[in-house]
């Protein structure tokens, strides 16, 4: 059974003079453990698709099943619960909480999601190579390290799916590579499915499958052989 089964997904936005179809009949199935990179020009609909997959946004039409169950839509708290139980999210600008240390950034998410598990938090920080930085504040570490903390944080509550939106967009190429390697290692270790939105073609080498979008439609969907 695929972990994600999206059929005929559409997302329309009503603008002042027209209705914009950000997604126009997208259908995808994703198997557990896949690492997908979503590519496409600006306005192609890749972030909208990511938002719908994360249940941050509700599609206008179509079906979306996750792990065999229909994903809630339009109900804020049910969508939040879905995200909490299933989704990890990594942002371009890291968005770590500046008042919390590296370790506390992970513990906070655990606390808000159910229970604190310091052992797992420490394991994850070790997994992303930051076991020596646990007591530092985000402002005291580099951008690449911050993004690795963000990855560890997104894994802290053991999600089934990790989503990343331009997660290396704010990093130089060397740091990007290091972050992506960490991400791949972590996701393989944790057996987590990954979908990443990016403009950066170079990231396709870390994917098992590349989906290209344009004008809200899938224009290609190919495995990479990784």
């Amino acid at each position: 059974m695929p972990i994600i089964d999206i059929q005929g997904m559409e997302r329309h936005y009503e603008m002042a003079s027209e209705v914009v179809k950000a997604l126009d009949g997208v259908s995808i199935t994703v198997e557990k453990g896949e690492r997908i990179v979503l590519l496409g020009p600006s306005g192609s609909g890749k972030t909208t698709l990511l938002n719908c997959v994360a249940a941050l946004d509700s599609p206008t039409k179509g079906t979306y099943d996750f792990d065999g169950k229909t994903v809630p839509r339009l109900k804020s708290e049910e969508m939040t619960t879905f995200r909490r139980e299933n989704i990890g999210y990594v942002f371009q600008f890291f968005n770590l909480l500046q008042d919390l240390t590296v370790l506390e950034n992970l513990l906070l998410i655990q606390e808000l999601s159910g229970g604190r598990d310091k052992k797992r938090a420490l394991e994850l920080l070790k997994l992303v190579g930051l076991e020596d930085e646990i007591d530092r504040f985000p402002a005291e570490i580099s951008g690449g390290q911050q993004q690795r903390v963000a990855i560890a944080r997104s894994l802290a509550k053991s999600p089934k799916l990790l989503l990343g939106d331009e997660l290396t967009g704010n990093l130089d190429s060397n740091t990007s590579s290091m972050v992506m390697e960490v991400l791949v290692k972590a996701c393989e270790t944790e057996e987590i499915t990954t979908i990443m939105v990016t403009h950066d073609e170079k990231l396709t080498k870390y994917a098992t499958r590349v989906i290209r979008l344009d004008s809200g439609k899938i224009i290609s969907d190919e495995p990479t052989g990784n």
Partner: protein, 832 residues
């Protein structure tokens, strides 16, 4: 033309930044809610300033006009009072002659010396068949006179008719006439220690000694219909009292011009040095001319005059503080709001700076903004103050004081208040404007301007707590300046709220507690010298109990002020019992009878003002006679300056047995039939308590208005800060929401955060309010009016509770804000 003026560079600068200012105005408009809170604060400051200022101006100008203005009463400069008896016509005349002939060699010249007779009495009143009420009264024998005339302002609805010209005519004081709805032509039945007589009311007016309409020695105005005063001809009063023609007990002296007198509120300055010299000389003269002890005093010794002066002085002192405090809160909210605005606009400013916009073009907008906000707030405040606040305040004052008050608001007052507010708001905008112009584009683009390393110490302190709690604490303290200013502003608003609470508690304790808990008499009947026997006989016949009391003014060495002496049969504390007037002993011991040096108790206020302590031996004066007394202890709870002695000691000094009889009525017979004819007036304790309670009720309305103002300001301040805290954390909260944080947990986190701010703010607010009120009270207390503020637990809990309540009550708003957050838009911000 302008380009050639010195203002040209400024004009150029402001016009060059027009678009920037427009951009700023739009940004401000986007924060309408917070903007309106700031405008509200300014408006409240101006409103309060105009309302209080109008009251202060009215209070100050009114008395000057009444005392010395054209058509005023021509207030005497010196009073010579015979509290223990009456001089006959011959003595009276001789005294004035002697004063005229032996007038001290000073810069002041005697203008007039007039004798008066003023007596206690009773006014009998029954309304359409109801039971007759005996109202304690003071009757004045005043022919037209040159000094201290009856005041009957022609342009006021509160006075009417003409002066009494026949022995059976009377001018009733406007206060009692209004209370009892007495009209011109009505007949009133009155007495003063002998037969009742009927007098026709020919006028309704005021008298300088009763503008503050209170019974002698009382610190609060009398309740409606519980105190009467009337002004008849000298012959009319002689008829009532059976005194011989020309009798008097008061000599009024008018000096050429208006001499300065020593103000009781200025301990260190003797404004009336020359007048005091005259008073001392006259005291000396009186001791040679008359056998009875007399008091010689200036305006500060006249209760009504002194109270109203103190009231006006207090109002003049307080109004700039109130305006300034509220304007300061407005300034703080403007300062914090602008800082937040600059923080949120940092990138825009950085882009503008990168594109070459000079620093000086950035600044004007941030200076104009508070000026515009202040201008709008001031305009609203002026309108509200002129058309609502000042008329309400003056109306309330007129109602309380019972005097005609002009409701005009002076233009100079409006200008003064608006200027204070505008200067404060302008100053509040200067630093943020300077900060805005100093932003470094590179630092902004790198995000360095906002990243502030969290405190390591705070991290260690909160490390063992759940992360959510730790985050709440750290987030709350992230901006120490903001939190500090917020607590300061909340503290000031709680000073407004709490000072009223503390004062109300203390006043209730002092005014009502004093008479309710420490006095067990039911009726106090005043007697003429030697007239106590008849009253005592009446009490014994009616199965009651009694104690004799002497109330007498006591003088001080080289000091024009007086203390009221209480000569008691027994001096005891509430716990000891055994006296109808008991004391609350603060320190020391009850005086020992027949000590080598006569022992006395003094009240706390006397101790503070004269710096007298337990164990001190001090001189006191009865008339011109000096006595040495030892202070055995200090009492608390007295509003007026008081000294307690054993009656037998005081009796020897003043030469009379009693001035009144304290009576506990028999349980079987509470009737007072016949007492009116035997006494020169009596007061029922229940009436006195009612007077206090009614007045406190009236005061409470005013207090509640101020309290509400304090709470509203605290709401606005906390709302402004918490909203800024939330807005600043939008990114954090959005991140947590995207990562699946449930609303209830975020709500809990916010609740604890607000609770924390509330608890700290509440405690600081209570501390601020208490010490502020103590400071305020210490600047208000005067010789004639002393009270202390006690840290009443109920008031402290209420203040802290209000701040905590306000803070916590804003949690649902914060949650609603998070709930309506558009996560899709937020994610764009987080990733683009």
């Amino acid at each position: 033309m302008l380009s050639k003026t010195p203002l040209a560079p400024l004009v150029t600068l402001f016009s060059r930044s027009n678009l920037l200012n427009k951009r700023l105005a739009r940004s401000l408009w986007r924060t309408k809610l917070r903007l309106s809170a700031v405008v509200f604060m300014v408006a409240v400051g101006v409103f309060a300033g105009i309302s209080f200022g109008a009251y202060a101006n009215a209070a100050t100008n009114l008395y000057d006009d009444i005392y010395d203005g054209e058509g005023g009463v021509n207030l005497p400069d010196i009073w010579i009072n015979n509290p223990s008896g009456v001089w006959d016509a011959n003595e009276s005349s001789n005294l004035c002659d002697s004063i005229s002939q032996n007038w001290p060699d000073s810069e002041y010249e005697l203008k007039t010396c007039e004798q008066r007779l003023v007596v206690d009495g009773i006014m009998f009143y029954s309304d359409s068949g109801s039971e007759e009420t005996a109202i304690p009264a003071i009757w004045h024998g005043i022919d037209e006179g040159l000094v201290d005339k009856v005041w009957m302002p022609e342009d006021s609805d509160l006075s009417s008719g003409e002066l009494a010209s026949s022995f059976d005519e009377i001018v009733l004081d406007s206060h009692i006439a209004i209370d009892l709805d007495v009209q011109l032509g009505d007949e009133v039945e009155i007495s003063s220690g002998s037969d009742r007589m009927m007098y026709t009311v020919v006028g309704i007016g005021f008298h300088s000694q009763h503008l503050f309409y209170a019974q002698e020695g009382m610190s609060l105005p009398a309740d409606d219909g519980t105190f009467a005063t009337g002004y008849m001809t000298a012959s009319g009063l002689e008829r009532l009292t059976n005194f011989s023609e020309g009798s008097s007990n008061l000599i009024l002296i008018d000096i050429q011009g208006t001499p300065s007198y020593d103000l009781q509120s200025t301990d260190d300055v003797d404004e009336g040095k020359e007048l005091n010299f005259v008073i001392d000389e006259l005291s000396e003269l009186m001791s040679l001319e008359t056998d009875v002890p007399v008091s010689v005093y200036d305006r500060s010794g006249v209760q009504s005059v002194e109270f109203l002066r103190a009231d006006a002085e207090g109002a003049v002192k307080i109004f700039p503080y109130v305006t300034g405090m509220i304007a300061a809160i407005a300034g703080i909210t403007i300062f914090l709001s602008l800082q937040r605005l600059i923080q949120s606009q940092a990138r825009e400013i950085a882009v503008l700076r990168t594109l070459g916009v000079p620093k000086l073009s950035i600044m004007p907008g941030y200076i104009i903004a508070p000026v515009v906000i202040g201008g709008i707030g001031s305009l609203i405040g002026v309108l509200l103050g002129v058309y609502f606040g000042a008329p309400s305040m003056l109306g309330l004052y007129e109602k309380m004081i019972g005097l005609p008050i002009s409701s005009d608001v002076d233009n100079s007052l409006i200008t003064q208040v608006v200027l204070i507010s505008m200067v404060i708001v302008l100053l509040a905008g200067l630093r943020p404007a300077w900060q805005a112009s100093r932003l470094q584009p590179l630092a902004v683009f790198r995000g360095q301007h906002e990243v502030k390393l969290s405190s390591r110490r705070l991290q260690r302190f909160t490390a063992s707590l759940p992360t959510t709690v730790g985050l709440s604490i750290r987030s709350s303290l992230r901006k120490p300046m903001r939190v500090g200013f917020t607590f300061f502003a909340v503290g000031i608003s709680m000073l407004l709220f709490g000072s009223m609470l503390f004062m109300l508690e203390s006043m209730e304790d002092s005014f009502i507690g004093g008479i309710k808990d420490r006095q067990s008499w039911e009726v106090q009947a005043s007697n003429s010298p030697g007239g106590e026997d008849a009253i005592v006989e009446w009490v014994e016949e009616n199965g009651g109990q009694y104690e004799l009391l002497i109330n007498f003014p006591i003088g001080l060495e080289d000091d024009n002020r007086e203390i009221t002496a209480f000569g008691l049969d027994n001096i005891s504390t509430v716990s000891d019992g055994g006296s109808m007037i008991m004391v609350d002993l603060m320190e020391g011991d009850i005086p020992v009878r027949d000590s080598a040096t006569m022992q006395v108790l003094i009240d706390e206020g006397t101790s503070v003002f004269l710096e007298w302590d337990t164990g001190d031996v001090v001189p006191i004066y009865v008339g011109n006679m000096q006595y040495e007394v030892e202070i055995s202890g200090i009492t608390k709870g007295e509003i007026s300056r008081t000294i307690y002695l054993y009656r037998e000691d005081l009796s020897q000094m003043v030469g009379i047995e009693s001035t009144s009889v304290l009576i506990q009525l028999s349980d079987d017979d509470k009737s007072l039939d016949g007492l009116a004819e035997l006494s020169v007036g009596y007061t029922k304790k229940a009436d006195a308590i009612n007077t206090f309670e009614t007045l406190l009720e009236q005061q409470k309305q005013f207090f509640y208005a101020i309290e509400s103002l304090g709470v509203i300001i605290a709401v606005a301040v906390l709302f402004n800060t918490l909203l800024m805290n939330l807005a600043e954390r939008d990114t954090e909260l959005a991140t947590l929401r995207v990562l699946g944080a449930p609303m209830n947990k975020l709500g809990k986190m916010m609740f604890w955060e607000h609770l924390g701010i509330g608890v700290i703010g509440g405690v600081l607010g209570a501390v601020f309010a208490y010490f502020g009120t103590v400071l305020l009270a210490s600047s208000m207390v005067q010789w004639a009016f002393y009270f202390t503020i006690s840290p009443a637990p109920s008031a402290i809990i209420t203040i802290a509770g209000v701040v905590i309540g306000i803070s916590v009550a804003l949690t649902p708003f914060g949650m609603w804000r998070i709930k309506k957050m558009n996560l899709v838009d937020k994610v764009k911000d987080l990733s683009n």
